[in-house]
């Protein structure tokens, strides 16, 4: 292995700015605009002064009339501020996908795939020019062809100068909730990278309050539209439900640190999780999980066993409330306890509103079934969705205690099939320039190992604190990927990851020499599984396993995992 040393500049937070076009004039123009002109530069830290935030984490973009700015369902890591002109939000119905110009994720061609046989680096962790993904990289621009017809057929809302949008995706690490296009020619937007938005909000309480308020309002209205049991409501009833709904946030935005401390302390984790609704209590309302996760538990002996966990879009408490409504003479208490895990947004629709507005709107066939034999004790286990009940309580506890429900592409290995041949590791290395991007080790329960491979989390806490935004969601499928060019190797993401799935490595140049900064310390980069995004055929680890022992499954919903277990 080569030991030679190459001195170079250590990459810093703003080594690769969001745009190279933010000159002094552009920065001054932004700073002269409301609300930036009211911000106090002294409130910003010396590491991220306001002017530099504008220069490096923002860019001005011009849009033509009809040009799509963001698409519903795409993952985005930036928010927008309307400098001038107008933008239109498509509220409902959604635009058909054919007009949105979606394309397949870019992947290597057959020849480039085959060429990896001889073109892979001989040394490990060689930083290639091809890794570069400049911030200004060309993005396709899509123009809607018939704007008047869209305005005629779809309910829309207009955003004008001074409005913010895109903050939900930027701050909650979730997909864009609506498609937005420019209404007028020359609409000028200020696009703000999420880490810049985060720092601006830290330095300006007024903007923070404003963004938080619109975030809650928009998240509430967006989410309620997606709840199946509310779809029979008319506009007025919908508004009544929205007005009565409480928006509650639990846990820390950066929950991984607390979780790691708790896990290391050896304390009973379940009893430390905040209780939203307790078994045996009167049901105060239906709880809807907007983002994050909650655990459904039931008393068992001297402890609590996990029956299920709920992710975004799932509900709690409707069965008991519906039972009370259908059998007013038989009051029932909650059969299970709901505890929140990590950073969780909940919406709570009060019982009175459910009784008066929601349940009468439901057709009889859509009403939840009556609870069986309440007096004989909690019957929740029998009511849990079928796929979940096929998992043992021990396995549910294992998945929950380790927070594995967060993974959308978790690597699970059946240890009773795995011959420890490491074909998966070799395949991973072969498709990543001879660098494996995961460890075939990790927590084991029974015959199942959840390996230390990036799970592409529903809530990727690794992204919190990344100073450059190098770790981000791919806009197409939402995979969490690292841009090696903007990664400065600070290690924040690796420390944040609760699953030990990110490695910090020393890098080499094309000749195999270790890259060393002017301070004589090696240049580091964060690396992890990228789910073989640019490879033909999907994750090489799965395709390479000869014994059907390895799979990438969504542990958010469990259905896929249960199917795989019983394959």
């Amino acid at each position: 292995m080569s030991e030679a040393i190459t001195a170079t500049d250590r990459p810093k937070r703003w080594s690769v700015p969001f745009s190279t076009e933010m000159d002094d004039a552009a920065v001054s123009r932004v700073l002269g605009h409301v609300p930036f002109n009211a911000m106090q530069p002294e409130n910003f830290s010396r590491a991220s002064p306001l002017r530099e935030l504008v220069r490096n984490d923002m860019r001005l973009r011009q849009y033509r009339a009809g040009e799509i700015i963001v698409r519903e369902g795409d993952y985005g890591t930036s928010a927008f501020f309307v400098m001038s002109g107008k933008a239109e939000v498509v509220l409902s119905p959604d635009l058909p996908t054919r007009v949105l110009g979606r394309r397949d994720a870019p992947s290597r061609g057959l020849w480039r795939s085959f060429a990896q046989l001889w073109s892979n680096a001989r040394e490990d962790e060689v930083l290639r020019d091809r890794d570069a993904q400049g911030a200004d990289s060309a993005e396709p621009r899509i123009i809607l062809q018939d704007v008047p017809q869209i305005l005629d057929r779809h309910r829309t809302a207009t955003l004008t100068t001074g409005d913010f949008f895109g903050e939900i995706a930027a701050l909650s690490r979730m997909p864009r909730t609506a498609t937005i296009f420019a209404r007028t020619d020359g609409t000028e937007l200020l696009e703000i990278r999420w880490q810049g938005l985060r720092d601006i909000m830290r330095g300006d309480p007024a903007l923070r309050a404003h963004i938080n308020r619109i975030y809650r309002e928009r998240a509430l209205s967006t989410f309620l539209r997606e709840i199946p049991f509310l779809r029979h409501l008319g506009p007025e009833a919908h508004a009544e439900v929205a007005a009565a709904t409480q928006f509650e946030t639990y846990g820390d935005y950066d929950w991984s640190g607390d979780y790691k401390k708790l896990a290391q302390s050896g304390e009973d984790i379940v009893t430390r999780e905040p209780v939203v609704a307790a078994e045996g209590d009167y049901p105060n309302g239906v709880v809807l999980v907007r983002a994050g996760f909650a655990r459904v538990t039931q008393r068992f002996g001297a402890g609590h066993r996990t029956l299920n966990y709920l992710g975004a879009g799932q509900i709690y408490g409707l069965d008991e409330i519906a039972h009370q409504w259908r059998k007013p003479g038989q009051p029932v208490s909650l059969q299970t306890t709901l505890r929140v895990i990590g950073y969780t947004h909940l919406l709570i629709i009060p019982t009175a509103v459910i009784h008066r507005v929601v349940l009468p709107s439901l057709p009889t066939r859509e009403l939840p079934p009556l609870l069986p034999e309440i007096e004989s004790g909690p019957a929740a286990e029998t009511r849990v969705e079928a796929p979940v009940s096929r998992l043992s309580a021990d396995r549910m506890d294992f998945l929950t205690e380790n927070r594995f429900f967060n993974g959308t592409k978790s690597m699970v290995i059946d240890m009773e099939r795995c011959t420890r041949c490491d074909d998966c590791v070799r395949a991973c290395a072969a498709t990543h320039d001879n660098n494996p991007r995961f460890l075939r080790s990790g927590p084991i329960q029974g015959n199942i190992m959840v390996a230390n491979a990036c799970m592409h989390c529903a809530d990727p806490v690794c992204m919190i604190g990344c100073p450059t935004g190098a770790i981000h969601r791919d806009s197409f499928e939402g995979e969490v990927v690292i841009n090696p060019v903007t990664c400065i190797g600070c290690g924040v993401c690796a420390n944040q990851c609760p699953y030990n799935s990110i490695r910090i490595v020393e890098t080499r140049d094309a000749s195999g020499e270790i890259l060393v900064a002017s301070d004589a310390k090696p240049i580091l980069k964060a690396t992890k599984c990228d789910l073989c995004l640019d490879q033909l055929g999907g994750p090489a680890c799965v395709r390479a396993c000869p014994h059907d022992a390895l799979a990438r499954v969504n542990l958010n919903t469990l259905d896929e995992f249960v199917d795989w277990l019983h394959r």
Partner: protein, 274 residues
């Protein structure tokens, strides 16, 4: 019965039907077509080349071929089918010439090493999983060193406070060789617990001579012995899972070389029979 068991049964049934059909067809054609051996020979060779390609497929995981698990299935059942056709090719007779005999032995060895590997890859993972103490094979030396360092530290640490070297001497003479390197390979391969029991019994026999401080350390050493045994068992199982391929693959290539010579010889000395 799981879906996988059903699939395996169906595949076996399919293989049995195919083998039966081949035997019947071959039995009917053989008397009238003296050159049928050429056909069956080329089919066996083609199958063997295809089966060998499985190893090549593993080297190029970036190409969008079908998954390795499907390849392995074809490899297993194709291999069994190749064995049936090979028996038809030699007309179920033991070959007479030296080259043919070597080739026949190699084919048998490749087939049986493959069947052994297949059985091993189904039986051993479950045993390793039940054993616990999962460890990546390449990390075994690291874990072993940690165990050895702890065992040494525990035994040495008793000398001064206990005012006796009984346990330390026992460790030096009886246990240190065991902690120095992986041990008891064959016992672990066969699933025997005897080596661990013997060592624990020796430690138990020595307890009557130990001070209170040494007794506590002896308990810790017993725990380390169990961990070492678990590590040795993991290593033995994983080594066996890797090692059988070092038999199967070289034998395969040797068989292909002999097959090439066999083809040349057959065509060179067929005397116009083809």
């Amino acid at each position: 019965m799981t879906a996988r068991h059903v699939r395996t049964l169906l595949l076996f049934a399919g293989l049995a039907v195919a083998a039966d059909a081949l035997i019947i067809v071959h039995g009917k054609l053989a008397p009238n077509y003296p050159l049928l051996a050429y056909v069956t020979g080329w089919i066996v060779l083609g199958l063997c080349l295809y089966l060998t390609a499985f190893n090549a497929r593993k080297k190029i995981p970036f190409l969008p071929f079908v998954g390795a698990r499907h390849w392995l299935n074809v490899h297993i059942y194709g291999g069994l089918l190749a064995a049936v056709i090979c028996i038809l090719h030699v007309r179920a007779r033991w070959p007479s010439g030296g080259l043919q005999l070597w080739l026949c032995w190699l084919f048998i060895a490749v087939t049986w090493s493959g069947i052994f590997g297949w059985w091993l890859s189904r039986a051993m993972p479950g045993r390793l999983s039940t054993l616990g103490g999962e460890v990546i094979y390449e990390r075994v030396p690291l874990v072993l060193r940690r165990l050895r360092d702890r065992a040494e530290a525990i035994s040495v640490a008793t000398v001064e406070p206990a005012g006796a070297a009984t346990l330390a001497e026992f460790y030096t003479h009886e246990l240190s060789p065991h902690f120095a390197a992986p041990a008891d390979f064959w016992a672990h391969v066969t699933g025997s617990r005897r080596p661990l029991k013997v060592k624990l019994q020796r430690l138990t026999d020595r307890r009557r001579y130990l001070t209170t401080i040494e007794l506590k350390a002896a308990d810790e050493l017993a725990d380390l012995l169990r961990q070492k045994d678990q590590l040795d068992a993991q290593r033995a199982g994983q080594l066996l899972l890797k090692a059988w391929l070092f038999v199967h693959i070289p034998l395969t290539y040797a068989m292909l070389i002999f097959t090439a010579v066999h083809v040349v010889v057959v065509y060179a000395f067929s005397g116009g029979a083809r």
